[in-house]
């Protein structure tokens, strides 16, 4: 089977063994790689489906330096730094319980308990802002663009579950 070229050669993967990520006083992310030290930003290529894979690092000019294929391959310290940074960037509290769900003019108002505390938000469009993924996973975006996640609505308590099911 001859192949013109291997697709994989297109990838610019970073060697996880040589990566060291640190956070400086201004909570910028600093990458030390092969003796170079620079400020970077981290982006998830698959923020919804594969949060721990393909973390793309870009320099301050927005030019890609390379990708970390799997966050688990980093050393513990760098992983902590990166995960904290990503979690802040991709802030999406997990909804633990739905207290109330009211609809006014087809705009549902959610009153929920999240892992970050109590929150009330409104969702504008059922089609665009509520994404039902496989395995009962639901991603929500409120009217202001904030994101929330329900890892598996089938595992919520019956009342919350009944609320959610009216909207999906």
């Amino acid at each position: 089977m001859q192949q013109a070229y291997h697709l994989e050669q297109e990838l610019t993967l970073l060697d996880p063994g040589r990566i060291r990520l640190i956070r400086d006083e201004l909570t910028d992310l600093i990458l030390e790689y092969r003796g170079e030290r620079q400020t970077v930003t981290a982006h998830r290529a698959f923020p919804l489906t594969a949060t721990g894979q393909f973390i793309v690092l870009k320099n301050v000019d927005g030019v890609e330096i390379g990708a970390i294929r799997d966050i688990a391959t980093l050393d513990e310290e760098s992983r902590d730094v990166l995960e904290t940074d990503l979690e802040r960037t991709y802030f999406a509290p997990v909804i633990l319980q739905v207290n109330r769900l009211e609809e006014n003019f087809h705009v549902p108002k959610w009153d929920v308990e999240t892992d970050r505390g109590h929150r009330v938000f409104e969702v504008r469009s059922r089609r665009r802002d509520i994404r039902v993924m496989s395995e009962g996973r639901i991603l929500l975006r409120d009217a202001d663009g904030n994101r929330y996640e329900i890892p598996d609505y089938r595992k919520l308590d019956p009342v919350s579950r009944a609320f959610v099911e009216t909207l999906i």
Partner: protein
């Protein structure tokens, strides 16, 4: 390799000639001239309908046509002089043209009905010519018939009826009565459920019919027994019929039982009847509904799967809206019928039969009278049924029209706005909507006369009972209880009859939908896999066209006798005027259609000998207006290779220069592209479709105007991606902008379906043909633009 379904070597046409023509011919022909070919046409030389004839002997061709004077007009051409024979499809008819060195002649005219009959004639005549004078193979005799057009049947093979263009199956040969049975065939996997619910249905119906009998016992044996004792109640009628049914339900009161006890027993029985009847029908409603849903689920699945098996020509002939209505509306109508309609029909029929039995065992004479209006009822139902069927057919068409209009206009709304044609579109919709309205009103009119007539007819039965039954009670031949029971059954009897009549239209509606669904299911794909076609192994990528002729419609060949060979890894640029057949050529490589003549060989194997899946798995296509499906970016890139790893997806996107803009989306590769990919821009869409093609790692790559609709900078990026993509693959690229083809190894110039030029850029420039002219024009244009 002759693979056309009508080989050119078929027998010569020999139609019977009338006596008069034969004798006329006898005068013409020489003593040793023998008739070899004779074909009856349906147009005369003067253009009027009527038989005319084309005959051929070993020496000449003769056209014979009756003239107005009753004599025969004759046109003869010696075979030896013929240089070209062809069947031409004209605007409204067909003609057989003969060319000699000096002139041309039309020897036969015919309507398009006979087009398929005459299309093999040129090659037959050519054979006669070869037999007459052995000519070298490269002689100038050529026929250009369009025989072997099997793609689309216009007439039914069995009954010669015209087949509606959107059907593909003869509606006449479709037995409507068999539709129901065929539909029931889908119930087979669930037969236990079906039989169970049927038994429940019958039991419940039977139990539901006992109250009037209880009523009779109540009146005759409990309420009026004292006074009625003097009446010879039922004494004339043998006790046997009375005891057969009622006693089994309500046991004969033992003489010892006093009346209050009997009353209590009867009331309890009635309670029992009602409880069990309703309980049973709850269970059976659920069961039947479930059955109906299962059947329609299977049907919907099958229709959709079949739609995907059909070839592109099926879609070319139908509007998208119509096909969608097949999958949704027609199937849901069937579901409505199976889960509601069907059980009502069965219940009603069972009710009618049971009541008939009871009535006749109660009092046969009276029963006969009561049922008298029934035949009338049935007659009317049948009459209205037919009317309604036609009307519903029309209604369905109008609905489909509206669907088609919506599917057409809504996606094109930008064009509508750009040309400020909203008003026209609205009035177009209004027109069709009005058509629907008038159709619905017509249906309402028929139904509004239908129902009152039916109600009136059923009331006749009551009149009869009152009169006849009343007289009998007065005369003492009928007990009061029996009279009451009769009246009760009467009402229960006409109820089902009436509802059967009302159900009729639902049935018609369902039958129409069933017809249409089965029509789709019965339509065969005309790009069928040969039995025993095996998978094509991974190819190296050579493509050869050998004498390929193709037409979408008979008589209008799009590609004519194409011969060329492309080596593995070569990049071929396809150029030519619009409509020259470039896209058609590409459709043929993908085998979206089957060719009529010649062979297409991939890696020296006929593409008709390998399975479609294995062929298309090795072909990657990038179209001018790439279609993305509603899903995430990653899902769309992996469309051609389900289960692709994240590595592959990201690598493909990088190769297509798409990675950077994907990362700029907040949701990265998980960004939804929206329906048809409308949420990403044209250039982005194009690069995603290139990534999709790259991920498949195809051996043959097809680029159909891949950069036509993007700006120059994006084009540069796309070109860059394409340059990487074509490495080591056989590539066919169509482009109007010839600069796009600068990487091509060779250029293939099509002109009106024929291969005009083939060669490298330099060769073709030197040749100073079509390509050179196109090049000059484009340089001219760009100079103008630059200036």
């Amino acid at each position: 390799m002759a693979t056309s379904p009508y080989p050119a070597s078929g027998a010569l046409i020999r139609d019977e000639l009338p006596e008069a023509v034969l004798s006329h011919l006898n005068n013409l022909l020489g003593p040793r001239e023998e008739l070899l070919l004779s074909a009856t046409t349906d147009l005369r030389f003067d253009g009027s309908y009527g038989p005319a004839w084309l005959v051929a002997t070993g020496q000449r061709l003769i056209g014979i046509s009756p003239s107005e004077s009753g004599r025969y007009e004759t046109l003869g051409i010696p075979l030896a002089e013929v240089t070209r024979v062809e069947v031409r499809e004209l605007f409204g008819s067909g003609v057989l043209k003969i060319r000699t060195k000096k002139s041309g002649a039309s020897l036969a005219f015919f309507t398009k009905t006979l087009l398929s009959k005459f299309s093999p004639v040129p090659s037959q005549i050519e054979r006669l010519i070869r037999q007459a004078k052995p000519v070298p193979e490269d002689a100038q005799i050529s026929d250009s018939s369009v025989d072997g057009f099997a793609g689309r049947k216009k007439r039914c093979e069995r009954c010669q009826q015209v087949i509606p263009h959107w059907m593909g199956v003869c509606p006449m040969c479709l037995d409507s009565r068999r539709l129901l049975f065929r539909l029931l065939g889908y119930a087979k996997p669930y037969w236990q459920m079906a039989v169970g619910s049927l038994l429940l249905l019958l039991t419940a119906t039977f139990i539901g019919l006992t109250p009037p009998l209880l009523m009779r016992t109540l009146i005759d044996d409990v309420l009026v027994a004292d006074t009625g004792g003097s009446l010879p109640a039922a004494s004339l009628i043998p006790a046997e019929p009375r005891s057969s049914v009622p006693r089994s339900q309500a046991p004969a009161p033992p003489s010892g039982m006093d009346k209050p006890t009997m009353l209590a027993v009867l009331v309890l029985l009635l309670l029992l009847v009602n409880v069990s009847r309703n309980g049973l029908s709850a269970v059976r409603t659920y069961l039947l509904a479930k059955l109906g849903q299962r059947i329609t689920f299977d049907l919907r699945k099958e229709v959709y799967r079949h739609l995907h098996h059909l070839s592109l020509s099926f879609y070319n002939e139908r509007e998208t809206g119509r096909i969608m209505s097949n999958v949704t509306q027609d199937v849901s109508r069937l579901q409505d019928f199976i889960s509601d309609g069907l059980q009502e029909i069965i219940r009603d029929i069972a009710t009618i039969v049971i009541i008939c039995i009871i009535l006749f065992s109660l009092n046969p004479a009276l029963a006969a009278f009561v049922l008298m209006p029934t035949p009338l009822l049935i007659l009317f139902t049948r009459y209205f049924g037919r009317r309604l069927h036609d009307l519903y057919h029309g209604l369905w068409r109008r609905w489909a029209d509206i669907h088609a209009l919506l599917a057409d206009t809504i996606p094109g709304v930008r064009v509508v706005k750009a040309f400020a044609q909203e008003k026209r579109e609205v009035s177009k919709f209004e027109n069709r909507s009005w058509g629907l309205l008038s159709g619905e009103i017509r249906v309402a009119r028929v139904r509004s006369t239908f129902t009152p007539i039916m109600t009136f007819l059923t009331s006749l039965g009551t009149l009869i009972i009152w009169w006849m039954g009343g007289n009998k009670v007065l005369g003492g031949t009928l007990s009061l209880g029996e009279f009451v029971a009769f009246t009760g059954y009467m009402w229960q009897f006409y109820g089902p009859v009436e509802s059967l009549c009302r159900l009729n239209h639902r049935f018609q509606r369902a039958a129409t939908s069933a017809e249409r669904i089965f029509e789709v299911l019965d339509t065969q794909s005309d790009v069928a896999e040969r039995p025993g076609a095996n998978a094509m192994p991974r190819i190296s990528g050579s493509v050869e066209f050998a004498g390929v002729t193709f037409s979408y419609e008979p008589g209008k060949p799009i590609l004519k006798d194409l011969n060329f060979r492309v080596e593995p890894g070569e990049m071929i640029g396809l150029a030519g005027h619009s409509g020259a057949g470039k896209s058609t050529l590409i459709n043929l490589i993908c085998r979206f259609y089957d060719i009529q003549e010649g062979d297409i060989l991939v890696d020296d194997r006929d593409i008709r000998d390998v399975s479609l899946k294995s062929l298309r798995a090795q072909i990657g296509v990038v179209l001018q207006d790439p279609f993305l499906f509603n899903g995430s970016v990653a899902e769309n890139i992996a469309y051609g290779k389900p289960g692709a790893t994240l590595d592959e997806i990201v690598a493909a996107a990088k190769a297509a220069n798409a990675h950077d803009f994907i990362l700029d989306f907040p949701e990265g590769y998980d960004t939804p592209v929206g329906e048809r990919g409308l949420r990403v821009s044209g250039g982005e869409r194009q690069r995603l479709s290139i990534a999709r093609a790259i991920l498949r790692n195809p051996r043959i790559l097809i680029l159909d105007e891949a950069t036509a609709s993007v700006d120059t900078e994006t084009e540069a990026q796309i070109q860059d991606a394409i340059a990487r993509l074509i490495e080591g693959r056989t590539t066919f690229a169509i482009a109007h902008r010839l600069s796009t083809l600068k990487n091509a190894n060779r250029l293939l110039i099509l002109d009106k379906g024929e291969l005009a030029e083939i060669g490298t850029h330099d060769e073709l420039i030197q040749r100073d043909g079509i390509y050179a002219r196109l090049c000059r024009m484009q340089t001219e244009m760009s100079r103008l633009r630059a200036w």
